[in-house]
Protein backbone atom coordinates (compact mmCIF):
# COMPACT_ATOMS: atom_id res chain seq x y z
CA UNK A 1 0.00 0.00 0.00
CA UNK A 2 2.68 2.46 1.01
CA UNK A 3 4.86 1.90 -2.01
CA UNK A 4 2.00 2.25 -4.42
CA UNK A 5 1.04 5.49 -2.71
CA UNK A 6 4.58 6.73 -3.04
CA UNK A 7 4.40 6.15 -6.74
CA UNK A 8 1.06 7.84 -6.89
CA UNK A 9 2.40 10.72 -4.85
CA UNK A 10 4.96 11.40 -7.55
CA UNK A 11 2.59 10.97 -10.43
CA UNK A 12 -0.32 12.86 -9.03
CA UNK A 13 0.22 14.59 -5.68
CA UNK A 14 -3.34 15.89 -5.47
CA UNK A 15 -4.90 12.49 -5.35
CA UNK A 16 -2.84 11.18 -2.50
CA UNK A 17 -3.47 14.26 -0.47
CA UNK A 18 -7.11 13.44 -0.98
CA UNK A 19 -6.51 9.95 0.27
CA UNK A 20 -4.96 11.23 3.44
CA UNK A 21 -7.94 13.35 4.26
CA UNK A 22 -10.08 10.39 3.42
CA UNK A 23 -8.16 8.23 5.83
CA UNK A 24 -8.26 10.84 8.54
CA UNK A 25 -12.00 11.26 8.26
CA UNK A 26 -12.53 7.52 8.36
CA UNK A 27 -12.86 7.54 12.12
CA UNK A 28 -15.58 10.14 11.96
CA UNK A 29 -17.30 8.52 8.99
CA UNK A 30 -20.92 7.61 9.36
CA UNK A 31 -21.99 4.02 9.25
CA UNK A 32 -23.20 2.84 5.83
CA UNK A 33 -26.69 2.09 7.02
CA UNK A 34 -27.02 5.59 8.43
CA UNK A 35 -25.94 7.05 5.10
CA UNK A 36 -28.55 4.91 3.35
CA UNK A 37 -31.15 6.33 5.69
CA UNK A 38 -30.02 9.87 4.93
CA UNK A 39 -30.20 9.18 1.22
CA UNK A 40 -33.50 7.35 1.11
CA UNK A 41 -35.14 9.11 4.05
CA UNK A 42 -36.39 12.23 2.29
CA UNK A 43 -38.22 10.24 -0.37
CA UNK A 44 -39.65 7.93 2.26
CA UNK A 45 -40.90 10.97 4.19
CA UNK A 46 -42.65 12.34 1.11
CA UNK A 47 -44.41 9.03 0.53
CA UNK A 48 -45.28 8.84 4.20
CA UNK A 49 -46.72 12.35 4.39
CA UNK A 50 -48.45 12.52 1.02
CA UNK A 51 -49.31 8.93 0.22
CA UNK A 52 -49.33 6.47 3.14
CA UNK A 53 -50.86 8.72 5.81
CA UNK A 54 -53.46 10.07 3.35
CA UNK A 55 -54.45 6.48 2.55
CA UNK A 56 -54.91 5.83 6.26
CA UNK A 57 -57.07 8.96 6.48
CA UNK A 58 -59.18 7.74 3.57
CA UNK A 59 -59.87 4.51 5.46
CA UNK A 60 -60.58 6.33 8.75
CA UNK A 61 -62.81 8.99 7.25
CA UNK A 62 -64.77 6.36 5.34
CA UNK A 63 -66.13 5.32 8.75
CA UNK A 64 -67.03 8.83 9.87
CA UNK A 65 -70.40 10.48 9.84
CA UNK A 66 -71.36 13.57 7.86
CA UNK A 67 -74.09 16.09 7.29
CA UNK A 68 -74.73 18.58 4.49
CA UNK A 69 -71.64 20.65 5.00
CA UNK A 70 -69.13 19.01 7.30
CA UNK A 71 -67.34 15.94 8.57
CA UNK A 72 -68.44 14.51 11.91
CA UNK A 73 -65.64 12.50 13.51
CA UNK A 74 -67.84 9.80 14.98
CA UNK A 75 -67.97 6.19 13.93
CA UNK A 76 -70.61 5.51 11.33
CA UNK A 77 -71.11 3.13 8.46
CA UNK A 78 -73.18 5.71 6.61
CA UNK A 79 -70.56 6.23 3.89
CA UNK A 80 -70.93 2.60 2.96
CA UNK A 81 -74.66 2.19 3.52
CA UNK A 82 -75.34 5.28 1.38
CA UNK A 83 -73.13 3.84 -1.32
CA UNK A 84 -74.84 0.48 -1.36
CA UNK A 85 -78.30 1.97 -0.92
CA UNK A 86 -80.95 -0.25 -2.45
CA UNK A 87 -78.54 -2.94 -3.47
CA UNK A 88 -80.38 -5.69 -1.64
CA UNK A 89 -83.86 -4.34 -2.20
CA UNK A 90 -83.39 -4.15 -5.94
CA UNK A 91 -82.08 -7.68 -6.37
CA UNK A 92 -81.84 -9.34 -8.82
CA UNK A 93 -81.36 -6.00 -10.63
CA UNK A 94 -78.07 -4.20 -10.07
CA UNK A 95 -78.09 -1.06 -7.96
CA UNK A 96 -76.35 2.15 -9.05
CA UNK A 97 -72.97 1.28 -7.60
CA UNK A 98 -73.16 -2.23 -9.05
CA UNK A 99 -74.03 -0.92 -12.49
CA UNK A 100 -71.27 1.66 -12.31
CA UNK A 101 -68.66 -0.94 -11.46
CA UNK A 102 -69.87 -3.27 -14.21
CA UNK A 103 -69.62 -0.37 -16.64
CA UNK A 104 -66.14 0.59 -15.40
CA UNK A 105 -64.94 -3.00 -15.66
CA UNK A 106 -66.36 -3.22 -19.18
CA UNK A 107 -64.43 -0.09 -20.18
CA UNK A 108 -61.38 -1.55 -18.49
CA UNK A 109 -61.52 -4.80 -20.43
CA UNK A 110 -62.06 -3.04 -23.76
CA UNK A 111 -59.22 -0.58 -23.22
CA UNK A 112 -56.97 -3.33 -21.88
CA UNK A 113 -57.53 -5.59 -24.89
CA UNK A 114 -56.95 -2.80 -27.41
CA UNK A 115 -53.88 -1.30 -25.69
CA UNK A 116 -52.42 -4.79 -25.28
CA UNK A 117 -52.84 -5.52 -28.98
CA UNK A 118 -51.40 -2.20 -30.14
CA UNK A 119 -48.74 -2.09 -27.43
CA UNK A 120 -47.56 -5.62 -28.15
CA UNK A 121 -47.05 -5.07 -31.86
CA UNK A 122 -45.51 -1.63 -31.48
CA UNK A 123 -43.05 -3.05 -28.94
CA UNK A 124 -42.45 -6.08 -31.16
CA UNK A 125 -41.63 -3.87 -34.11
CA UNK A 126 -39.26 -1.72 -32.04
CA UNK A 127 -37.54 -4.66 -30.36
CA UNK A 128 -37.15 -7.12 -33.22
CA UNK A 129 -37.45 -5.28 -36.50
CA UNK A 130 -35.56 -2.09 -35.78
CA UNK A 131 -31.95 -3.22 -35.81
CA UNK A 132 -30.00 0.02 -35.39
CA UNK A 133 -29.78 1.30 -31.80
CA UNK A 134 -30.07 4.88 -32.96
CA UNK A 135 -33.32 4.20 -34.80
CA UNK A 136 -34.62 2.21 -31.86
CA UNK A 137 -33.92 5.16 -29.56
CA UNK A 138 -35.40 7.66 -31.96
CA UNK A 139 -38.61 5.72 -32.54
CA UNK A 140 -39.05 4.95 -28.82
CA UNK A 141 -38.65 8.65 -28.16
CA UNK A 142 -41.30 9.38 -30.78
CA UNK A 143 -43.68 7.16 -28.81
CA UNK A 144 -42.71 8.79 -25.49
CA UNK A 145 -42.94 12.48 -26.35
CA UNK A 146 -46.76 12.64 -26.26
CA UNK A 147 -46.59 11.22 -22.72
CA UNK A 148 -44.75 14.40 -21.71
CA UNK A 149 -47.54 16.60 -23.05
CA UNK A 150 -50.89 17.38 -21.52
CA UNK A 151 -53.56 14.68 -21.33
CA UNK A 152 -56.41 17.18 -21.50
CA UNK A 153 -55.02 18.65 -24.68
CA UNK A 154 -54.72 15.20 -26.16
CA UNK A 155 -58.36 14.66 -25.28
CA UNK A 156 -59.75 17.88 -26.67
CA UNK A 157 -57.65 17.25 -29.76
CA UNK A 158 -60.31 14.74 -30.80
CA UNK A 159 -63.07 17.36 -30.87
CA UNK A 160 -62.23 18.83 -34.31
CA UNK A 161 -61.98 15.32 -35.69
CA UNK A 162 -64.96 13.59 -34.13
CA UNK A 163 -67.39 16.45 -33.46
CA UNK A 164 -70.73 16.89 -35.19
CA UNK A 165 -69.08 19.00 -37.87
CA UNK A 166 -65.72 17.35 -37.46
CA UNK A 167 -63.43 15.94 -40.12
CA UNK A 168 -64.72 12.38 -39.84
CA UNK A 169 -68.37 13.34 -40.13
CA UNK A 170 -67.86 15.80 -42.96
CA UNK A 171 -65.70 13.27 -44.79
CA UNK A 172 -68.34 10.57 -44.44
CA UNK A 173 -71.12 12.99 -45.45
CA UNK A 174 -69.24 14.12 -48.54
CA UNK A 175 -68.51 10.57 -49.60
CA UNK A 176 -72.21 9.82 -49.28
CA UNK A 177 -71.76 6.99 -46.82
CA UNK A 178 -74.06 8.63 -44.29
CA UNK A 179 -76.87 11.16 -44.61
CA UNK A 180 -76.58 12.82 -41.25
CA UNK A 181 -73.65 13.24 -38.87
CA UNK A 182 -72.89 10.35 -36.56
CA UNK A 183 -73.67 11.40 -32.98
CA UNK A 184 -71.87 8.57 -31.25
CA UNK A 185 -68.42 9.68 -32.34
CA UNK A 186 -67.94 12.24 -29.59
CA UNK A 187 -69.07 12.42 -25.95
CA UNK A 188 -69.88 8.74 -25.99
CA UNK A 189 -68.46 5.46 -24.78
CA UNK A 190 -66.71 5.19 -28.12
CA UNK A 191 -64.80 8.44 -27.65
CA UNK A 192 -63.94 7.50 -24.05
CA UNK A 193 -62.37 4.22 -25.15
CA UNK A 194 -60.63 5.92 -28.06
CA UNK A 195 -59.13 8.60 -25.80
CA UNK A 196 -58.07 6.11 -23.14
CA UNK A 197 -56.32 3.99 -25.76
CA UNK A 198 -54.77 7.10 -27.23
CA UNK A 199 -53.47 8.26 -23.85
CA UNK A 200 -52.37 5.05 -22.21
CA UNK A 201 -51.06 2.62 -24.83
CA UNK A 202 -47.69 4.10 -23.86
CA UNK A 203 -47.92 2.30 -20.50
CA UNK A 204 -48.22 -0.99 -22.37
CA UNK A 205 -45.47 -0.32 -24.93
CA UNK A 206 -42.71 0.51 -22.44
CA UNK A 207 -42.77 -2.59 -20.20
CA UNK A 208 -43.38 -4.99 -23.10
CA UNK A 209 -40.55 -3.42 -25.08
CA UNK A 210 -38.38 -3.67 -21.98
CA UNK A 211 -39.06 -7.41 -21.69
CA UNK A 212 -38.60 -7.99 -25.39
CA UNK A 213 -35.20 -6.33 -25.78
CA UNK A 214 -33.93 -8.59 -23.02
CA UNK A 215 -34.86 -11.72 -24.95
CA UNK A 216 -31.72 -13.43 -26.18
CA UNK A 217 -31.94 -13.29 -29.97
CA UNK A 218 -30.22 -16.67 -30.26
CA UNK A 219 -33.29 -18.28 -28.66
CA UNK A 220 -35.40 -17.06 -31.56
CA UNK A 221 -32.83 -18.22 -34.03
CA UNK A 222 -32.73 -21.59 -32.29
CA UNK A 223 -36.49 -21.88 -32.62
CA UNK A 224 -36.29 -21.16 -36.35
CA UNK A 225 -33.43 -23.59 -36.77
CA UNK A 226 -35.45 -26.27 -35.01
CA UNK A 227 -38.10 -25.74 -37.66
CA UNK A 228 -40.62 -23.55 -35.82
CA UNK A 229 -42.78 -21.29 -37.95
CA UNK A 230 -42.93 -17.58 -37.20
CA UNK A 231 -46.24 -18.09 -35.43
CA UNK A 232 -44.93 -20.97 -33.32
CA UNK A 233 -41.91 -18.90 -32.32
CA UNK A 234 -44.20 -16.06 -31.34
CA UNK A 235 -46.49 -18.21 -29.20
CA UNK A 236 -43.91 -20.53 -27.66
CA UNK A 237 -40.87 -18.30 -27.29
CA UNK A 238 -41.59 -14.60 -27.52
CA UNK A 239 -44.90 -14.31 -25.68
CA UNK A 240 -43.79 -16.40 -22.66
CA UNK A 241 -40.59 -14.39 -22.37
CA UNK A 242 -42.43 -11.08 -22.79
CA UNK A 243 -45.01 -12.08 -20.18
CA UNK A 244 -43.57 -9.98 -17.33
CA UNK A 245 -43.82 -6.87 -19.49
CA UNK A 246 -47.32 -7.77 -20.57
CA UNK A 247 -48.41 -8.20 -16.95
CA UNK A 248 -46.81 -4.96 -15.75
CA UNK A 249 -48.30 -3.03 -18.67
CA UNK A 250 -51.69 -4.57 -17.97
CA UNK A 251 -51.50 -3.58 -14.29
CA UNK A 252 -50.77 0.03 -15.30
CA UNK A 253 -53.55 0.25 -17.86
CA UNK A 254 -56.16 -1.48 -15.70
CA UNK A 255 -55.46 0.60 -12.59
CA UNK A 256 -55.46 3.82 -14.61
CA UNK A 257 -58.79 3.06 -16.24
CA UNK A 258 -60.34 1.83 -12.97
CA UNK A 259 -59.55 5.12 -11.26
CA UNK A 260 -60.02 7.44 -14.22
CA UNK A 261 -62.55 10.23 -13.95
CA UNK A 262 -61.04 12.93 -16.14
CA UNK A 263 -60.96 11.16 -19.49
CA UNK A 264 -64.35 9.62 -18.84
CA UNK A 265 -65.64 13.05 -17.79
CA UNK A 266 -64.27 15.09 -20.68
CA UNK A 267 -64.72 12.53 -23.45
CA UNK A 268 -68.02 11.21 -22.12
CA UNK A 269 -69.48 14.72 -21.93
CA UNK A 270 -69.78 14.30 -18.12
CA UNK A 271 -72.60 11.82 -18.78
CA UNK A 272 -70.91 8.46 -18.18
CA UNK A 273 -70.59 7.13 -14.64
CA UNK A 274 -67.44 5.38 -13.49
CA UNK A 275 -65.84 4.22 -10.27
CA UNK A 276 -63.57 7.28 -10.23
CA UNK A 277 -66.34 9.70 -11.10
CA UNK A 278 -68.48 8.59 -8.15
CA UNK A 279 -65.66 9.68 -5.84
CA UNK A 280 -65.37 13.04 -7.60
CA UNK A 281 -69.13 13.60 -7.45
CA UNK A 282 -69.24 12.82 -3.72
CA UNK A 283 -66.33 15.16 -3.04
CA UNK A 284 -68.00 17.94 -4.98
CA UNK A 285 -71.08 17.41 -2.82
CA UNK A 286 -68.75 17.64 0.24
CA UNK A 287 -69.80 14.13 1.30
CA UNK A 288 -66.28 13.16 2.26
CA UNK A 289 -67.05 9.95 4.18
CA UNK A 290 -69.07 8.66 1.23
CA UNK A 291 -66.25 9.66 -1.14
CA UNK A 292 -63.76 7.91 1.14
CA UNK A 293 -65.94 4.80 1.33
CA UNK A 294 -66.02 4.68 -2.46
CA UNK A 295 -62.27 5.18 -2.54
CA UNK A 296 -61.82 2.24 -0.17
CA UNK A 297 -64.04 0.05 -2.37
CA UNK A 298 -62.10 1.08 -5.46
CA UNK A 299 -58.82 0.49 -3.67
CA UNK A 300 -59.86 -3.00 -2.58
CA UNK A 301 -61.00 -3.97 -6.08
CA UNK A 302 -57.83 -2.54 -7.67
CA UNK A 303 -55.73 -4.35 -5.08
CA UNK A 304 -57.49 -7.65 -5.82
CA UNK A 305 -56.85 -7.23 -9.55
CA UNK A 306 -53.18 -6.45 -8.98
CA UNK A 307 -52.72 -9.37 -6.57
CA UNK A 308 -54.25 -11.70 -9.10
CA UNK A 309 -52.01 -10.40 -11.83
CA UNK A 310 -48.81 -10.28 -9.79
CA UNK A 311 -49.29 -13.98 -8.98
CA UNK A 312 -48.24 -14.46 -12.58
CA UNK A 313 -45.03 -12.45 -12.26
CA UNK A 314 -42.70 -11.09 -9.59
CA UNK A 315 -42.67 -7.35 -10.25
CA UNK A 316 -39.58 -6.61 -8.19
CA UNK A 317 -37.47 -9.07 -10.15
CA UNK A 318 -38.34 -7.40 -13.41
CA UNK A 319 -37.06 -3.90 -12.68
Amino acid sequence: MDTSEDILQQASPDLVRGSETARRSKAARLSPSFISWLQAGPMMLVFLAFFLIPLVFVVIVSFWDYNEYQLLPAFSGRGYTDTFEGCIAQLPDLCTIGRTYVKTLKLCVMVWAITLFIGFWVAYFLAFHVKSKTWQMGLSLLCTIPFWTSNVIRMIAWIPLLGRNGLVNSGLLKSGLINQPLEWLLFSEFSVVLALVHLFTFFMVVPIFNSMVRIDKSLIEAAYDAGATGFQTLVNVIIPLAKPGIVIGSIFVITIVMGDFITIGVMGGQQIASAGKIIETRVNALQFPAAAANAVILLVITFLIITMMSRIVDIKKEL
Partner: protein, 292 residues
Protein backbone atom coordinates in the same frame (compact mmCIF):
# COMPACT_ATOMS: atom_id res chain seq x y z
CA UNK B 1 -32.57 -13.90 -39.19
CA UNK B 2 -32.97 -14.04 -42.95
CA UNK B 3 -31.47 -11.96 -45.72
CA UNK B 4 -33.33 -8.75 -46.50
CA UNK B 5 -36.46 -7.63 -44.71
CA UNK B 6 -39.14 -10.21 -44.00
CA UNK B 7 -42.66 -9.36 -45.07
CA UNK B 8 -43.72 -8.96 -41.45
CA UNK B 9 -41.33 -6.01 -41.23
CA UNK B 10 -43.35 -4.03 -43.75
CA UNK B 11 -46.68 -4.96 -42.18
CA UNK B 12 -45.49 -3.90 -38.74
CA UNK B 13 -43.75 -0.80 -40.07
CA UNK B 14 -47.08 0.34 -41.50
CA UNK B 15 -48.78 -0.55 -38.22
CA UNK B 16 -46.19 1.46 -36.32
CA UNK B 17 -46.54 4.44 -38.65
CA UNK B 18 -50.32 4.31 -38.19
CA UNK B 19 -49.83 4.29 -34.41
CA UNK B 20 -47.56 7.33 -34.59
CA UNK B 21 -50.09 9.12 -36.78
CA UNK B 22 -52.79 8.20 -34.26
CA UNK B 23 -50.59 9.67 -31.48
CA UNK B 24 -49.70 12.92 -33.17
CA UNK B 25 -52.49 13.54 -35.70
CA UNK B 26 -55.12 14.94 -33.33
CA UNK B 27 -52.56 17.07 -31.45
CA UNK B 28 -51.33 18.62 -34.66
CA UNK B 29 -54.93 19.29 -35.67
CA UNK B 30 -55.53 21.53 -32.67
CA UNK B 31 -52.19 23.31 -33.04
CA UNK B 32 -53.23 24.19 -36.56
CA UNK B 33 -56.74 25.16 -35.49
CA UNK B 34 -55.47 27.54 -32.84
CA UNK B 35 -54.27 29.74 -35.71
CA UNK B 36 -57.84 30.15 -36.99
CA UNK B 37 -58.99 33.52 -38.23
CA UNK B 38 -61.14 35.59 -35.83
CA UNK B 39 -64.31 34.11 -37.34
CA UNK B 40 -63.08 30.56 -37.01
CA UNK B 41 -64.95 27.88 -35.13
CA UNK B 42 -64.02 24.70 -33.33
CA UNK B 43 -63.57 22.54 -36.42
CA UNK B 44 -62.05 22.46 -39.86
CA UNK B 45 -62.07 24.02 -42.39
CA UNK B 46 -59.86 26.90 -41.33
CA UNK B 47 -61.51 30.28 -41.56
CA UNK B 48 -58.44 32.31 -42.43
CA UNK B 49 -55.11 32.25 -40.65
CA UNK B 50 -54.23 34.55 -37.76
CA UNK B 51 -52.77 34.68 -34.30
CA UNK B 52 -55.99 36.28 -33.07
CA UNK B 53 -56.88 33.59 -30.52
CA UNK B 54 -53.38 33.28 -29.13
CA UNK B 55 -53.10 37.06 -28.82
CA UNK B 56 -56.49 37.13 -27.13
CA UNK B 57 -55.16 34.65 -24.59
CA UNK B 58 -52.29 36.95 -23.67
CA UNK B 59 -54.50 40.04 -23.46
CA UNK B 60 -56.19 38.38 -20.53
CA UNK B 61 -59.66 38.99 -21.93
CA UNK B 62 -60.41 35.33 -21.60
CA UNK B 63 -62.62 33.68 -19.05
CA UNK B 64 -60.03 32.98 -16.40
CA UNK B 65 -56.85 34.65 -15.23
CA UNK B 66 -54.52 32.52 -17.28
CA UNK B 67 -51.41 34.56 -16.59
CA UNK B 68 -51.57 33.78 -12.89
CA UNK B 69 -52.33 30.11 -13.51
CA UNK B 70 -49.43 30.00 -15.95
CA UNK B 71 -47.02 31.41 -13.37
CA UNK B 72 -48.31 29.07 -10.66
CA UNK B 73 -47.92 26.01 -12.86
CA UNK B 74 -44.45 27.08 -13.90
CA UNK B 75 -43.34 27.68 -10.31
CA UNK B 76 -44.77 24.37 -9.14
CA UNK B 77 -43.27 22.52 -12.11
CA UNK B 78 -39.79 23.87 -11.44
CA UNK B 79 -39.93 23.08 -7.72
CA UNK B 80 -41.28 19.58 -8.41
CA UNK B 81 -38.50 19.07 -10.94
CA UNK B 82 -35.73 20.07 -8.52
CA UNK B 83 -37.12 18.05 -5.61
CA UNK B 84 -37.71 15.02 -7.84
CA UNK B 85 -34.14 15.09 -9.15
CA UNK B 86 -32.52 15.51 -5.74
CA UNK B 87 -34.63 12.95 -3.89
CA UNK B 88 -34.50 10.40 -6.71
CA UNK B 89 -30.73 10.56 -7.11
CA UNK B 90 -30.25 10.31 -3.34
CA UNK B 91 -32.64 7.38 -2.97
CA UNK B 92 -31.19 5.72 -6.06
CA UNK B 93 -27.74 5.87 -4.45
CA UNK B 94 -29.16 4.31 -1.28
CA UNK B 95 -30.60 1.39 -3.23
CA UNK B 96 -27.13 0.35 -4.35
CA UNK B 97 -26.53 -0.98 -0.86
CA UNK B 98 -28.88 -3.13 1.14
CA UNK B 99 -30.63 -1.24 3.88
CA UNK B 100 -33.59 -1.92 6.09
CA UNK B 101 -36.90 -0.51 4.87
CA UNK B 102 -35.59 -0.88 1.33
CA UNK B 103 -38.56 -2.91 0.25
CA UNK B 104 -40.96 -0.60 2.12
CA UNK B 105 -39.70 2.34 0.08
CA UNK B 106 -39.79 0.31 -3.13
CA UNK B 107 -43.36 -0.86 -2.62
CA UNK B 108 -44.47 2.62 -1.50
CA UNK B 109 -43.17 4.01 -4.78
CA UNK B 110 -44.84 1.32 -6.88
CA UNK B 111 -48.09 1.67 -4.94
CA UNK B 112 -47.97 5.45 -5.29
CA UNK B 113 -47.68 4.96 -9.03
CA UNK B 114 -50.59 2.58 -9.43
CA UNK B 115 -53.07 3.53 -6.73
CA UNK B 116 -55.69 5.53 -8.63
CA UNK B 117 -54.83 9.24 -8.54
CA UNK B 118 -58.25 10.26 -7.29
CA UNK B 119 -57.71 8.21 -4.10
CA UNK B 120 -54.31 9.79 -3.38
CA UNK B 121 -55.78 13.19 -4.13
CA UNK B 122 -58.77 12.63 -1.84
CA UNK B 123 -56.47 11.33 0.90
CA UNK B 124 -54.25 14.40 0.78
CA UNK B 125 -57.26 16.67 0.84
CA UNK B 126 -58.68 14.84 3.88
CA UNK B 127 -55.30 14.95 5.62
CA UNK B 128 -55.06 18.72 5.18
CA UNK B 129 -58.67 19.28 6.17
CA UNK B 130 -58.06 17.39 9.40
CA UNK B 131 -54.85 19.33 10.06
CA UNK B 132 -56.79 22.57 9.47
CA UNK B 133 -59.49 21.48 11.90
CA UNK B 134 -56.88 20.64 14.52
CA UNK B 135 -55.19 24.02 14.14
CA UNK B 136 -58.52 25.82 14.34
CA UNK B 137 -59.58 23.87 17.41
CA UNK B 138 -56.35 24.16 19.37
CA UNK B 139 -54.29 27.12 18.24
CA UNK B 140 -55.88 29.69 16.01
CA UNK B 141 -59.58 30.05 15.39
CA UNK B 142 -59.08 32.35 12.44
CA UNK B 143 -56.76 29.98 10.64
CA UNK B 144 -57.79 29.60 7.01
CA UNK B 145 -56.14 26.56 5.49
CA UNK B 146 -52.78 24.85 5.20
CA UNK B 147 -53.78 23.51 1.79
CA UNK B 148 -52.09 25.20 -1.08
CA UNK B 149 -49.97 25.08 -4.17
CA UNK B 150 -46.70 24.49 -2.37
CA UNK B 151 -47.97 22.31 0.47
CA UNK B 152 -50.64 19.81 -0.53
CA UNK B 153 -50.21 20.57 -4.24
CA UNK B 154 -46.48 19.99 -4.19
CA UNK B 155 -46.94 16.78 -2.20
CA UNK B 156 -49.58 15.49 -4.58
CA UNK B 157 -47.33 16.07 -7.59
CA UNK B 158 -44.36 14.41 -5.89
CA UNK B 159 -46.34 11.21 -5.30
CA UNK B 160 -46.62 11.04 -9.08
CA UNK B 161 -43.12 12.14 -10.17
CA UNK B 162 -40.94 10.42 -7.54
CA UNK B 163 -41.82 6.85 -8.58
CA UNK B 164 -40.71 7.65 -12.12
CA UNK B 165 -37.51 9.20 -10.81
CA UNK B 166 -36.75 6.16 -8.68
CA UNK B 167 -37.44 3.72 -11.51
CA UNK B 168 -35.15 5.68 -13.83
CA UNK B 169 -32.42 5.53 -11.16
CA UNK B 170 -32.87 1.74 -10.99
CA UNK B 171 -32.45 1.56 -14.75
CA UNK B 172 -29.28 3.68 -14.55
CA UNK B 173 -27.62 1.65 -11.82
CA UNK B 174 -28.51 -1.63 -13.52
CA UNK B 175 -26.10 -0.60 -16.25
CA UNK B 176 -23.61 1.21 -14.05
CA UNK B 177 -20.19 -0.35 -13.61
CA UNK B 178 -19.41 -0.12 -9.86
CA UNK B 179 -15.72 -0.69 -10.61
CA UNK B 180 -15.45 2.91 -11.79
CA UNK B 181 -16.39 4.11 -8.35
CA UNK B 182 -14.13 1.55 -6.68
CA UNK B 183 -11.27 2.78 -8.81
CA UNK B 184 -11.95 6.31 -7.65
CA UNK B 185 -11.99 5.19 -4.06
CA UNK B 186 -8.77 3.23 -4.51
CA UNK B 187 -7.21 6.41 -5.78
CA UNK B 188 -8.25 8.05 -2.54
CA UNK B 189 -11.43 9.85 -3.43
CA UNK B 190 -13.82 10.54 -0.57
CA UNK B 191 -17.36 9.21 -1.10
CA UNK B 192 -18.45 12.72 -2.02
CA UNK B 193 -15.56 13.17 -4.47
CA UNK B 194 -16.31 9.79 -6.04
CA UNK B 195 -19.93 10.83 -6.46
CA UNK B 196 -19.21 14.33 -7.68
CA UNK B 197 -16.39 13.52 -10.13
CA UNK B 198 -17.13 9.96 -11.21
CA UNK B 199 -20.72 8.85 -10.65
CA UNK B 200 -22.54 12.10 -11.37
CA UNK B 201 -20.87 12.87 -14.71
CA UNK B 202 -21.67 9.35 -15.91
CA UNK B 203 -25.32 9.39 -14.86
CA UNK B 204 -25.92 13.06 -15.70
CA UNK B 205 -27.78 12.47 -18.99
CA UNK B 206 -30.28 10.22 -17.21
CA UNK B 207 -30.55 12.67 -14.31
CA UNK B 208 -31.64 15.29 -16.82
CA UNK B 209 -34.16 12.71 -18.00
CA UNK B 210 -35.53 12.57 -14.44
CA UNK B 211 -35.81 16.35 -14.45
CA UNK B 212 -37.68 16.18 -17.74
CA UNK B 213 -40.17 13.71 -16.24
CA UNK B 214 -40.44 15.81 -13.08
CA UNK B 215 -41.29 19.02 -14.87
CA UNK B 216 -43.53 17.71 -17.64
CA UNK B 217 -45.53 15.38 -15.39
CA UNK B 218 -46.13 18.24 -12.96
CA UNK B 219 -46.87 20.78 -15.70
CA UNK B 220 -49.65 18.57 -17.06
CA UNK B 221 -50.82 17.00 -13.82
CA UNK B 222 -54.54 16.98 -13.31
CA UNK B 223 -56.00 14.01 -11.46
CA UNK B 224 -53.91 14.40 -8.31
CA UNK B 225 -54.17 18.18 -8.29
CA UNK B 226 -57.94 18.05 -8.64
CA UNK B 227 -58.75 17.67 -4.93
CA UNK B 228 -55.43 18.61 -3.37
CA UNK B 229 -54.43 21.95 -4.86
CA UNK B 230 -56.53 24.12 -2.56
CA UNK B 231 -58.23 27.32 -3.61
CA UNK B 232 -56.12 28.17 -6.66
CA UNK B 233 -56.00 26.43 -10.01
CA UNK B 234 -53.12 25.23 -12.10
CA UNK B 235 -53.14 25.62 -15.86
CA UNK B 236 -54.37 22.08 -16.69
CA UNK B 237 -57.22 22.50 -14.20
CA UNK B 238 -58.28 25.73 -15.90
CA UNK B 239 -58.05 24.04 -19.25
CA UNK B 240 -60.20 21.16 -18.07
CA UNK B 241 -62.72 23.65 -16.71
CA UNK B 242 -62.93 25.23 -20.15
CA UNK B 243 -63.76 21.95 -21.90
CA UNK B 244 -67.37 22.08 -20.78
CA UNK B 245 -68.07 25.74 -21.45
CA UNK B 246 -66.03 27.08 -24.31
CA UNK B 247 -67.24 27.03 -27.88
CA UNK B 248 -64.52 28.97 -29.72
CA UNK B 249 -60.86 28.30 -30.48
CA UNK B 250 -59.78 29.88 -27.15
CA UNK B 251 -59.29 26.43 -25.78
CA UNK B 252 -57.09 25.32 -28.67
CA UNK B 253 -54.97 28.44 -28.31
CA UNK B 254 -54.49 27.67 -24.63
CA UNK B 255 -53.68 24.06 -25.49
CA UNK B 256 -51.11 25.22 -28.01
CA UNK B 257 -49.46 27.57 -25.52
CA UNK B 258 -49.31 24.86 -22.82
CA UNK B 259 -47.87 22.42 -25.34
CA UNK B 260 -45.34 24.98 -26.53
CA UNK B 261 -43.91 25.08 -23.00
CA UNK B 262 -43.84 21.27 -22.86
CA UNK B 263 -42.09 21.03 -26.20
CA UNK B 264 -39.56 23.71 -25.27
CA UNK B 265 -38.66 21.80 -22.11
CA UNK B 266 -38.54 18.47 -23.98
CA UNK B 267 -36.29 19.94 -26.69
CA UNK B 268 -33.98 21.57 -24.14
CA UNK B 269 -33.69 18.39 -22.12
CA UNK B 270 -33.19 16.07 -25.08
CA UNK B 271 -30.70 18.49 -26.62
CA UNK B 272 -28.69 18.61 -23.40
CA UNK B 273 -28.79 14.83 -23.05
CA UNK B 274 -27.64 14.44 -26.64
CA UNK B 275 -24.80 16.93 -26.11
CA UNK B 276 -23.67 15.21 -22.91
CA UNK B 277 -23.74 11.80 -24.56
CA UNK B 278 -21.71 13.08 -27.45
CA UNK B 279 -19.18 14.64 -25.14
CA UNK B 280 -18.96 11.43 -23.14
CA UNK B 281 -18.36 9.47 -26.32
CA UNK B 282 -15.68 11.91 -27.50
CA UNK B 283 -13.87 12.41 -24.20
CA UNK B 284 -14.73 9.08 -22.66
CA UNK B 285 -11.96 6.95 -21.29
CA UNK B 286 -10.73 3.80 -22.98
CA UNK B 287 -11.16 1.87 -19.76
CA UNK B 288 -12.37 -1.63 -20.28
CA UNK B 289 -11.38 -1.66 -23.92
CA UNK B 290 -8.38 -3.86 -23.25
CA UNK B 291 -4.71 -3.22 -22.70
CA UNK B 292 -2.62 -2.04 -25.58
Amino acid sequence: MTEGRPRSFYVLAIFFAAYVLFLYGPMIAIYVLSFQGPQGGLTFPMNGVSTFWIAKLFQGTGIVDLGAAFRRSLLLGIIVMIVTVVLSVAAGMAFRRKFRAQSILFYSAIASLIVPSIITSLGISLEFRIIDDLIKAHWNENFETSMGLLTSGLGAHLTWTLPFGLLIMFAIFNRFDPRLEEAARDLGATPWQAFRHVVLPIILPSVIGIGLFGFTLSWDELARSSQAIGAVNTLPLDLQGLTTTVTNPDIYALGTVISAVSFTVITLALGTIHMLNKRQAAKGSDAGKGLV
